[in-house]
């Protein structure tokens, strides 16, 4: 019984790790300012909430994997268990690797390309108040400014 549960626990730990990495991707994006460059302002809170939910799910999976919570059904009853376990054995490391890449490599786009392709962002503040003088503003600030202003007519 213990041996038959070991693959389940290992899979739970892998799922916990993958979910945790995705949670970190969303939470870090919500706090490090990259969302100002990537997403419209109205979506920023949703990313943070989703990151929190994923983190909670990851912690629950970790608890299952460490045997701290109620277990699932006896795997002997799951006829497709082995096939699904093999598929997940490939999927989980792959998805965890992608999440790790997103954490390790923040966006570093060509600002000329981004500004040239800018869509309107009506969800952002129409007037941006800059604390810093123009010479000290970052490129992100300038792209945000370009996005919030309409094209000249």
């Amino acid at each position: 019984m213990g041996e038959s549960l070991a693959p389940l626990k290992r899979a739970a730990l892998w799922r916990a790790a993958a979910l945790g990495l995705w949670a970190l991707v969303l939470l870090r994006s919500a706090v490090d300012g990259r969302l100002d460059l990537l997403l419209r302002a109205v979506f920023h809170p949703l990313v943070g909430v989703a990151g929190g939910l994923l983190l909670a799910l990851a912690l629950l999976q970790l608890a299952l994997g460490l045997g701290l919570g109620p277990g699932g059904r006896d795997p002997a009853r799951s006829g497709a268990f082995e096939r699904i376990r093999r598929r997940q054995a490939l999927l989980l490391p792959a998805t965890a690797a992608v999440a790790a890449l997103l954490l390790a490599l923040p966006p570093a786009p060509s600002f000329a390309d981004l500004a040239g392709q800018r869509p309107r962002d009506d969800t952002a503040a129409s007037e941006l108040s800059f604390v810093l003088p123009p010479a000290q503003r970052t490129l992100t600030d300038w792209v945000r400014l370009l996005r919030s202003q309409p094209d000249p007519r």
Partner: protein, 322 residues
């Protein structure tokens, strides 16, 4: 130059992915809760199976799920597995990304001065969903749905929850006969199993979403958008160009109206509506996710059918508005 383009593609990829992930999570959570609350999904099998009423009912269910097309896929999958009439599930899959409060609100926010669009977009989405549902019903289910999905649909529960003997015994032939076989009411699964299944589903779908976003970001970075907008003046070519743009940019239906606003002045109204109708049904980002539901033939039929329907609707709007 290539390095700068790749850097931009990486940024676009992150933008698309981070924008879609919360909605994917919402869809998976709703699907998991539905499975826990109604494990057999018996009420789903009572939904209308009429060729027209079914897709309309499915489309109306979209008001319960405020997510874009990514979040709808796991819920639609759940509907199909639970034995809901296929027309209802397809109507939900194709219309719900538009027929939800967030998308309707964003369309209004982006185009307050074009009230015709506020009616045309939801009506057009329903028309496309009903048309696609009728078209896809021409294919037998074994030719339309993936084998594993079909097997789960016939059993009424996930494959991981049943033994090999249960999967292989007593399921003969195809058609409605299997649905009339009385099924024992399945017990509510443990919460741990629902979480395990939901987590695995989210991670699998996230990987497919990653592939779709990567393709969309690369195409956006290396194909100048100006090429597609250069045909803005021609009534028919503009519709085709905007449909291709919708396929390529792969933006979520919750914000595509704001994106469309940036070039709305350069294109005819039919092309604008075509952009807003096709993206929620199919785009590069969504191809991998839809591949979880349909066989390649079904996927091709979905792409071709939706393109044709949207082209016809766009042409009609151009005739009406121009």
């Amino acid at each position: 130059m290539t390095a700068a383009r790749l850097a931009t593609a990486w940024a676009l990829f992150q933008g698309l992915l981070i924008e879609a992930l919360p909605f994917l999570l919402i869809g998976v959570l709703i699907s998991a809760v539905a499975r826990w609350l109604s494990p057999g999904g018996r009420w789903l099998r009572r939904l209308p199976g009429h060729p027209l009423l079914g897709p309309l009912t499915g489309a109306a269910l979209g008001f319960a799920l405020p997510a874009c097309e990514c979040g709808n896929v796991p819920v639609a999958r759940r509907l199909i597995v639970a034995g809901a009439p296929l027309g209802t599930a397809l109507g939900f899959l194709f219309a719900a990304p538009v027929l939800n409060p967030i998308v309707l609100a964003s369309t209004f926010a982006a185009f307050p001065d074009q009230p015709w669009l506020l009616l045309a977009r939801p009506l057009g989405a329903v028309a496309v969903a009903v048309g696609l549902a009728l078209l896809l019903r021409l294919l037998p289910e074994p030719d339309l749905l993936r084998a594993d999905l079909l097997e789960e649909r016939r059993l009424g529960q996930p494959l991981a929850a049943v033994s090999l003997l249960e999967r292989r015994s007593g399921v003969l032939g195809e058609g409605a006969a299997w649905r009339e076989r009385p099924l024992a009411a399945p017990s509510r699964p443990p919460l741990a199993e629902v979480m395990r299944h939901g987590s695995a589903e989210f991670l699998e779908l996230a990987l497919l979403l990653v592939m779709g976003c990567a393709i969309a970001a690369l195409v956006q970075s290396f194909v100048p958008r100006a090429w597609l907008l250069a045909v803005g003046g021609a009534p028919t070519l503009s519709i085709v160009a905007l449909m291709l743009l919708a396929l390529v940019v792969s933006v979520c239906s919750s914000v595509d109206a704001f994106l469309a606003l940036s070039f709305a002045a350069q294109i005819p109204p039919g092309a604008l509506l075509a952009f807003l109708l096709l993206g929620p049904v199919i785009d590069l980002k969504l191809v991998g996710l839809l591949g979880l539901l349909f066989r390649p033939r079904g996927l091709l039929l979905t792409a071709a059918g939706s393109a044709l329907l949207v082209l016809l609707i766009g042409q009609w709007v151009n005739l009406w508005r121009l």
